[in-house]
């Protein structure tokens, strides 16, 4: 009797010990993980080690840290009572993503909206003044017109050229070679492309030997060389040519994939009925791949709307080439006017939203991957 009581007390003490131990470990393990990550962070911040070593440590710390956080969070949740574990487990998986999205996109949108009603230092409420600026300032109006030009010429050019090349290449034996050359610029950054094209547009006074390809061609035909980048209003077109050069490959690849999906029986039937090749393309192929053309167009429209890097490296928005995104960057980081900068960002969201919504709907219909 006494023995069994003792035993029970003993097991009670043991259980308590185990419980305390468990809680202890549950706190201890995350704590150790946190300390390790913190030490890594301090090392990276303060260290004067050679850059290559810092780079390696940074990469291991960053990637390992995320994996470690997932592991520890899961370990911790599994230590809890079963019904709590069940409820919390899904959030181990979706929680980090939701937290980061909330911090980086969801709340910033609301905060920018809020800031857009305040002055440059975000101190005094100014009502709609920033939006009135955004829709009346001559520079802003210039950027709207330019962006419209980017959308029309950039999208039309890329999709048009992409379609032409895809159609032609489809009829050639060397299809793969042609396509992969046209596609190559996709891998090049806007900044890199900026350098390439500045060089093509390079200008030297008449009489000297031209080093820019375009002026060399122009002078070859006996025309005066031009400073293309400062030549209003045509300089916008020369900037847009860069976008077309970059994006045609993308349009071509997607359109080309769609072309392969057009049933050959329909095309053959058209040909047997005596339709010319152009007629076959216009009346059979184009209608068949129309949704693809729309998807590609909306994607490039969004790129054109948000275009920034090309303008930033080529002209910095000078010579009448300002676009919405470059205006926003200027307001924020050159003039430190957070009110106007935020208002322009909101205008950009409003402009992108309908196109994106349409794009997503199309995308859902065709099932991505």
């Amino acid at each position: 009797m006494a023995d069994s009581k003792k035993l029970r007390e003993g097991s009670f003490a043991g259980n308590t010990l185990v419980a305390v131990g468990r809680i202890g470990i549950s706190i201890f393990v995350p704590l150790v993980a946190f300390v390790i990550l913190w030490a890594g962070f301090i090392f990276l911040k303060e260290s004067k080690a050679p850059p290559a070593l810092i780079a390696i440590v940074a990469i291991i710390w960053g990637v390992g840290g995320v994996a470690l956080l997932f592991g520890v969070a899961d370990w911790f949740v599994n230590r809890l009572p079963l019904h709590v574990t069940k409820k919390l487990q899904p959030f181990v998986f979706v929680g980090p993503a939701l937290a980061i999205l909330a911090w980086y996109l969801f709340f910033p949108t609301l905060r920018s909206l809020y800031l857009s009603f305040f002055d440059a230092q975000s101190k005094n409420f100014v009502g709609l003044a920033n939006y009135i600026y955004a829709f009346t300032d001559p520079k802003m109006l210039e950027s709207f017109v330019n962006n419209l030009l980017w959308i029309i010429l950039g999208t039309g050019g890329s999709v048009g050229m992409g379609l032409i090349i895809a159609l032609l290449a489809d009829r050639s034996r060397y299809e793969k070679v042609y396509k992969s050359i046209v596609f190559t610029p996709m891998a090049i950054s806007f900044v890199g492309a900026g350098v390439i094209w500045r060089f093509i547009y390079a200008y030297k006074p008449a009489g000297e030997s031209q080093i820019g390809l375009l002026n060399a061609i122009v002078t070859f035909f006996g025309v005066e060389p031009q400073a293309w980048i400062t030549l209003r209003p045509w300089n916008n077109v020369f900037l847009i040519a860069i976008l077309i050069w970059l994006q045609t490959g993308y349009a071509m690849v997607i359109i080309s994939a769609a072309l392969k999906g057009v049933p050959s029986q329909i095309i053959e039937a058209g040909r047997i009925d005596g339709a010319t090749e152009l007629r076959v393309i216009r009346s059979i192929i184009i209608p068949y791949i129309f949704t693809t053309l729309v998807t590609v167009s909306t994607t490039i429209i969004i790129i054109s709307l948000k275009i920034f890097d090309i303008v930033y490296t080529m002209t910095g928005g000078q010579y009448g080439t300002e676009v919405i995104a470059s205006m926003q960057y200027k307001q924020m980081f050159n003039f430190y006017d957070f009110g106007k900068g935020s208002a322009i960002a909101i205008v950009l969201v409003l402009a992108v939203t309908p196109v994106m919504w349409y794009n997503l709907r199309q995308f859902n219909k065709q099932e991505g991957f």
């Binding site: 960053g62 050359i181 950054s189 890199g192 993308y250 994607t299």
Partner: protein, 299 residues
């Protein structure tokens, strides 16, 4: 159409294609040729003259932009300062340091979230997923000011962690969306038998879902890689201008400003920036194309 006429057409088509392809290739060829020529030549004659007069081609421009003038001096406050010319090799390391985690971290987080949304049951699942998809609409410009303010408060400006998280945040909506589409099509029985065997979700995720999703993850990785490596705006805002952490695109943009006419260096610099994406492009073209097709809605 007679056979002969058909043959004629094929010649015409190939001729047109060759002209078009030349238009696409010439800018890159011109860049590469110029990067090999000495300064005086680049500034005085067109690069196409090389084909008639092939002298003086060398990699010395690359030496100059990669090494730059790296030297140390003591500034007014008595601190030793390391100043650098172009020093693109440092920027190259920085670009790698920024890019590798900025690709892996969002993919880890996005695939975990996609698995959670696709196969785990929890309250608010639909609502949260819709919100994630809605975030595709938001251009990242909108986040720049608020996030920059947060960073200034907690001291993340100019740090790698800051830019990794930024790229993670901006890449997540697309990543989750596409991976969800892929992971949700994995046959249900695979999960059921695993769960019946008592496997924990983390084990199912690590042992089953990740290996099965490799094709989707690979094409997304390439897409995110190109996006981060070629990005200028996010780097400008969150890394700031110090050359200690500046990435290749930033350094190149600075060179355009400071060395506007030194075409022999600019062309070499541009080629250094392009070389990794081009290698990825030629090495992994198949995945690359898949990635682009899937990524056509990047926000």
């Amino acid at each position: 159409m007679s056979l002969q006429k058909k043959k004629q057409w094929i010649y015409i088509i190939n001729a047109i294609l060759i002209v078009l392809v030349l238009i696409w290739a010439l800018p890159i060829i011109g860049l590469f040729v110029s990067s090999l020529r000495p300064r005086t030549e680049v500034l005085n004659t067109g690069w196409w003259t090389v084909f008639s007069n092939r002298t003086g081609l060398s990699f010395s421009n690359y030496k100059q932009v990669l090494g730059g003038s790296r030297y140390t001096f003591v500034d007014a406050a008595g601190k030793t300062v390391r100043a650098s010319g172009d020093n693109l090799s440092r920027a190259f390391i920085n670009s790698l340091t920024v890019t590798i985690p900025s690709v892996i971290i969002p993919l880890l987080i996005a695939s975990a979230a996609a698995f959670g949304f696709a196969w785990l049951v929890f309250p608010g699942r639909k609502f949260f997923f819709t919100t994630v998809v809605a975030m595709l609409v938001v251009p990242l410009q909108i986040a720049l000011i608020p996030i920059l303010r947060d960073y200034q408060k907690i001291g993340l400006t100019g740090s790698y962690l800051g830019i990794w998280l930024a790229h993670t945040g901006f890449g997540l909506p697309l990543g989750i969306y596409l991976l969800y589409n892929y992971i949700s099509t994995i046959p249900r029985d695979i999960f059921e038998s695993a769960f019946l065997d008592g496997a924990k979700p983390m084990v199912v995720f690590a042992r089953l879902v990740l290996p099965l999703s490799v094709p989707a993850i690979a094409s997304l990785a390439i897409f995110q890689f190109l996006w981060v490596w070629n990005d200028l705006l996010v780097a400008l805002v969150f890394l700031g201008g110090t050359s200690d952490v500046a990435v290749l695109t930033q350094r190149l943009a600075t060179m355009v400003g400071s060395r506007g006419q030194d075409w022999h260096l600019l062309t070499a610099g541009a080629f250094v920036v392009m070389v990794v994406p081009l290698a990825v492009f030629f090495g992994l073209q198949r995945y690359f194309v898949q990635g682009l097709m899937a990524g056509s809605v990047k926000g």
